[in-house]
């Protein structure tokens, strides 16, 4: 098979292109070649793990039919492949509106993915367990905040892969070598000096949102110099999610923290500087503040809460209960949920009246229908990412630190 433009194909890739690994693999590879040509990739890179987003809510019947065509070709994944969250709840069903079509569609989607060899991990924040990539490891991930975290916080290498592209990489075992698989794309393009205090994951999400808007663009790479304190994994998780959500940013550095920051410090010092002051973050949060103070719905995360975050929320409740007029969801992964169960944290949260969702991100479900059914409108959250995603579904998001969310959950009112 003649390489398209200047794409150098290995012997195995040429064999795939000739159909020697089957027609289905050839067709999948041709889609990858089209992407490679678009982004000027001159080769492919083998990948060790694929993590894809593929639930019925976003795929619909069109996505299901697409999967079915690949199954008819007898396709199977060739590298370890996991899937992100599902779109129907495990537990807390009484506060969800799940249509029969969504339930059956998700079950069919699960079955199709399993037939392809995909492990249904039902986790978005896979980088917090159970599959943590190594520095320099080439992967093909398809959760935007997870990719940004993997690239920035861990030094792994991935582009943001859509569901079909991630599945293509899983089948062929390779992905086009462009973007963040390459050193050249990982250098900073913007130096961000942060003097604001960052005390809660909501602050880190607000930082990601402000910078995401200022420096939006897939190949934009902010280099953060933060005056006050070093981030935790959970802080960086929210930063990464918001950078991706508000700016489609897939890579970042934090001086003194992330593994490639020192390598790029000289470049960072020589490029355009931007400053984030307290007023920038306060202004971002206050822009969401409502005139009415009554609270009816609180959603913690996404990204999925870690065990540490769930423990912190449990301590904030301090034996108190969610107000009877308020519904509180906490999103977490199956792995973190298991840890919370084993440590008793889950029981504490449930006793407080928190509905803990495992393996389902609340906003991936039919939340427009839920809004109508339960008459929800104002949504209080500590997630900048969630605040960006729910306007279109009729919600009025209010972004606030976690302790404010908990206090409002108990009292039924914003302070």
């Amino acid at each position: 098979m003649r390489a398209q433009n200047a794409i150098r194909l290995t012997r195995e890739e040429q064999a795939i292109g000739r159909g020697e690994r089957g027609l289905g693999t050839k067709l999948v590879f041709e889609q990858q070649l089209a992407v490679a040509e678009f982004f000027g990739a001159d080769r492919f890179v083998p990948i060790t793990h694929v993590h894809l987003s593929a639930d019925y809510e976003v795929m619909g019947e069109g996505g299901g039919a697409w999967l079915e065509r690949w199954l008819e070709h007898g396709l199977q994944v060739s590298v370890p492949t996991t899937r992100g969250t599902q779109c129907i709840p495990r537990g807390a069903g009484e506060r969800f509106c799940t249509s029969p079509q969504m339930a059956s569609g998700e079950q069919e989607t699960r079955a199709r993915l399993q037939r392809l060899g995909v492990t249904l991990l039902d986790t978005g924040s896979v980088f917090q367990g159970p599959l943590v990539p190594l520095f320099g490891e080439h992967i093909a991930w398809g959760d935007s905040g997870a990719v940004t975290y993997a690239n920035g916080a861990l030094g792994a290498r991935s582009n943001v892969e859509s569901g079909p592209a991630a599945l293509a990489a899983a089948i062929t075992g390779r992905t086009p070598a462009y973007g963040f698989h390459l050193d050249a794309s990982r250098a900073p393009t913007l130096n961000v000096h942060v003097t604001a205090e960052l005390q809660d994951v909501a602050d880190w999400g607000a930082l990601g949102a402000v910078v995401g808007r200022r420096a939006s663009g897939y190949f934009s790479v902010p280099f953060f110099e933060i005056d006050e304190g070093a981030p935790s994994s959970d802080d960086m998780k929210h930063l990464a999610a918001a950078l991706a959500s508000y700016g489609s940013i897939a890579m970042f550095h934090i001086a003194g923290v992330t593994p490639e920051a020192e390598r790029y410090r000289e470049i960072a010092l020589s490029i355009e500087q931007s400053e984030i002051i307290e007023a920038d973050l306060v202004g971002f949060l206050e822009a969401t503040a409502p005139a009415e103070r009554a609270v009816e719905l609180v959603v913690l995360g996404p990204p999925e809460l870690s065990l540490r975050e769930m423990e912190a929320v449990a301590r904030l409740f301090a034996g108190r209960r969610v107000n009877e007029e308020v519904t509180v969801f906490a999103n977490t992964s199956l792995v973190q949920h298991a840890a919370a169960h084993a440590t008793g944290t889950l029981l504490t949260l449930r006793d407080a009246g928190v509905l803990v969702l495992a393996g389902t991100n609340w906003y991936n479900s039919e939340i427009a229908a839920s809004r109508e059914h339960f008459a929800w409108r104002r949504l209080l959250t500590n997630s900048a990412k969630l605040a960006n995603a729910v306007h279109v579904l009729g919600y009025e998001p209010v972004l606030a630190p976690t302790h404010v969310c908990v206090e409002a959950a108990v009292s039924g009112r914003l302070p």
């Binding site: 992407v35 592209a165 663009g217 508000y246 897939a250 995603a389």
Partner: protein
């Protein structure tokens, strides 16, 4: 702007298509901006609020958000309600991958003067082979 203005792009994929422009001047996300079942812009306050996307050519400076576009274009096309073409200045892999899978022509790196000089409703020819958009005056 003169009759039949040509704007150049730096990256392109897909077949040639003619259609009607739908100009959105804020960063685009299928999940954040669209009613993906009704195939309309549904984000309150959006300049295209209420507009149908079916068979329209989206012209937009850039993108935000996550990976929903990879499946969303396919989902909407299956409902006969997908975009006719996508024209961006800045783009991310998800938009390109989603467009290719759904067989929707896509251009990126478009001359940014297009955002100042055209409006929704104008007739366009998107020619990926030529990496150009022709606006019929």
């Amino acid at each position: 702007m003169t009759v039949n203005t040509v704007y150049r792009a730096t990256q392109a994929w897909g077949p040639c298509v003619e259609g009607t422009a739908l100009v959105a001047l804020t960063l685009f996300s299928p999940r954040y901006d669209l009613d993906r079942y009704g195939a309309t812009f549904a984000r309150p306050g959006h300049s295209c609020f209420g507009e149908s996307i079916a068979e329209r050519i989206l012209v937009c400076p850039g993108v935000q958000g996550g990976v929903a576009g990879g499946w969303a274009f396919l989902m909407m096309k299956a409902r006969s309600a997908g975009f006719a073409a996508l024209v961006f200045a800045d783009v991310n892999p998800v938009m390109v991958q989603g467009a290719i899978v759904a067989e929707i022509p896509i251009l990126a790196g478009i001359d940014r003067r297009i955002f100042e000089e055209i409006a929704s409703g104008m007739k366009l020819l998107v020619d990926p082979a030529d990496r150009s958009v022709v606006v019929f005056g």
